[in-house]
């Protein structure tokens, strides 16, 4: 009886969700994720949102995740949530002048569904996801930088690379040095990059990113950008430390 009841409740809360496929990942936390991070707004599971990740994470501190949303127009925002992480929200991505593609690495505390939801202009969330098995412990360990004390020497340093893709567009990969401490390791307060924007050379915002604690130490992010090769990066961590860099070839 109980699963049926939950299903009914879900469909009442989300009038459009009714028509969608159910969560193929069978996440026990989906309702919570929907309410908390999608603000209980209408959604549907949608094959247009493709998420790639290893079935089994070799390193719980660095689980590579990649997503692309193809065939949907007017994407306002993309949210990534690891349902069973102690801090589930991973990032929010608002592509303005670039494709809704992103690759990054994250920390997993245990095996978990990774949900990616893209909101289109009509207010509907399109949801995809994968399940990643992990040995666990990724969120409660001190970062390497914090444990060694070296983080102060490199904090906020950016390295980046731009190269051409087969289809003629460009790919931009950036790494920002930051411990990204979750606040869950004993005696080490939360310390993470809060936002990072990618701008064109002339200051136009190409994409906005909100990053949360589960993003791996020294975040490495790859974007599919237009044909430009010069960029600016601007961001800030939760202590107000600024990140500023120019990517030139």
């Amino acid at each position: 009886m109980r699963p049926l009841f939950i299903f009914l409740l879900t469909s009442l809360l989300s009038p459009w969700g009714w028509a969608a496929d159910s969560d193929t990942l069978n996440s026990p936390q989906w309702q919570f994720v929907h309410t908390r991070f999608l603000k209980a707004e209408p959604y549907q599971f949608d094959g247009a949102v493709k998420v790639e990740a290893p079935t089994d994470a070799e390193d719980s501190l660095n689980v590579p995740i990649s997503f692309q949303v193809d065939g949907l127009e007017g994407i306002q925002e993309i949210v990534v949530v690891a349902d069973l992480n102690p801090i589930p929200q991973v990032l929010r991505f608002r592509p303005k002048e670039m494709r809704p593609h992103l690759s990054f690495r994250m920390k997993l505390q245990q095996g978990s569904p990774i949900h990616v939801a893209a909101k289109t202009a009509d207010g509907l969330w399109h949801v995809g996801g994968v399940w990643v098995n992990a040995a666990g412990g990724g969120c409660t360990l001190p970062s390497v930088g914090t444990a060694s004390g070296d983080w102060t020497k490199t904090l906020g340093q950016v390295s980046a690379n731009v190269w051409q893709r087969p289809d003629g567009s460009n790919r931009l990969r950036v790494r920002v040095m930051h411990p990204m401490d979750t606040g869950l390791a004993s005696g080490i307060p939360t310390f993470h990059i809060e936002n990072l924007n990618v701008l064109s050379e002339d200051g136009k915002v190409l994409a906005e990113l909100d990053l949360f604690e589960p993003i791996s130490e020294n975040p490495m992010l790859s974007f599919d950008v237009p044909k430009q090769t010069q960029f600016k990066l601007e961001g800030r961590d939760n202590n107000g430390n600024k990140i500023q860099a120019e990517v030139v070839q």
Binding site: S186, T190, N238
Partner: protein, 585 residues
Amino acid sequence: MKSGDLFRKVLLASAISLALTAAPLMAAVTDQDIANDATTPNDVVSYGLGLQGQRFSPLDKLNTETVKNLIPAFVLSYGDEKQRGQEAQPLVHNGKIFVTASYSRVFAVDAKTGEELWQYDHRLPDGILPCCDVVNRGGALYDNLFIFSTLDAQLVALDQDTGKVVWKEKMEDYKAGYSNTAAPIVVNGKVITGVSGGEFGIVGKVEARDAKTGKLIWMRPTVEGHMGTLDGKDNGITGETNKSWPGDLWKTGGAATWLGGTYDAETNTLFFGTGNPSPWNSHLRPGDNLYSSSVLAINPDDGKIKWSYQWTPHDGWDFDGVNEFISFDLKQADGKVIKAGGHADRNGFFYVLDRTNGQLISANPFVNKVTWAKGIDLKTGRPEYDDANRPGAPSGADKGQSVFAAPSFLGGKNWMPMAYNPNTDLFYVPSNEWGMDIWNEPISYKKGAAYLGAGFTIKPLNEDYIGALRAMDPKTGKIVWEAKNKAPLWGGVLTTAGNLVFTGTPEGYLKAFDAKTGQELWKFQTGSGVVGCPITWEQDGEQFVAVPSGWGGAVPLWGGEVAKSIKHLNQGGSLWVFKLPKTTS
């Protein structure tokens, strides 16, 4: 209709978000709120309960009759394995209590329930160099911001509602020995701060920034020879290069403004105390060493020095001079009122100055033993030194002649702010009776290393007590009453129109005294030493009192033979809030 429901939900949601964006505007702290803080008992929006720093509240529901009914309302634990000294003064505004804690932490608490609203833990590098414990003394409120400084010498502005960083500015390089523990003050939209690091050969300064953005407006160094700035341009050097400093020593001259300052609107003047000259060994730096161990009267508009007064010229005992300068009306016998300021120095003298020009009016000891000077000459304004009690110069690699000096460098009174009650016309000074053996040693400057050139051992002067809360009459310079305490006093003082004086003790008590007689009327055991600053305010018709509890500060680190009276004291970290219930007031 489902779509109708949804529409209503959307309407409701937009109404809520409107309310949320409107609320902070109504609650924003204005320059007017800060200027009136001393007379508006429903909030505490500045360090010192008013920028003059009198720490006087006009509330009188809680008084000598009713204080026996003061009971705990709630307590907030700061948690964490990190404890150490809790020296802060809380602030109260818009139904929230804001308090800073050791290790550059901030807590916001619901003033009705005591529930934590948010916590901000500043990330500190391993290499911070605080000389005297990892304390913080409080923040400043302005607009919707809570502004405080950190042990790695940064100034951070948090959103009062969320605890999120709104702006952050680096004040100085912590690797060179800079840090900051004092509460900033906000004067006419500018947040005014000093710096710590006098034990590391830094150069003291006072800075003013736009409180809403953190942008630097002016900077005034406190050691002569250094250039000040205004709007990014040179604004004249401080003093006259090499006038009172030999050679290059002024370049690492200290005079840290580590305790912040006060402000007097009547004369539009900031009063910032300055710390010891570096190094401690005075034989290396013949001269007065301006403007160390002084008070500087500064124009808040442009950072120019109006006048200065040096408490201890050519300081050789680390007497420092940062203790607060409190503006007050000195009432003369003939009915005349002098715009004055009171200051209880580490060197053991209680000074009254004319705050319009820095002229010395009186200087009298507020401790029982002073050996370094026979007195302060009222004509010249200078101390009459006892040269036998200045520690001798080292010869070659050997340490110099050791002397016994009183007070000790921990001072007749240290950082803990005194209070002035305009009803009793008395200052309430948390004082300590101790001396020290002190000697000089060879020293040279090295960036980021301690720069003292001195050794010392603190010694209590009496068997039965070190601390004494003393009521000083600024008109006569006489001690009117005293309340002794076994361990050294290290917490701030509060006085009220209810004829009360509050202060804490390392033994863990928050105590209330009769402001006229010094009779102890009430005490409460908080579980750890009280070295914070009590405040009081009125909320829903009831009078509240709050004080941080958590033993620490400089005494357990530097206290020498004082250890006897303090070694059993345990650390802690909590905010205690008390109230006088309506039925009993």
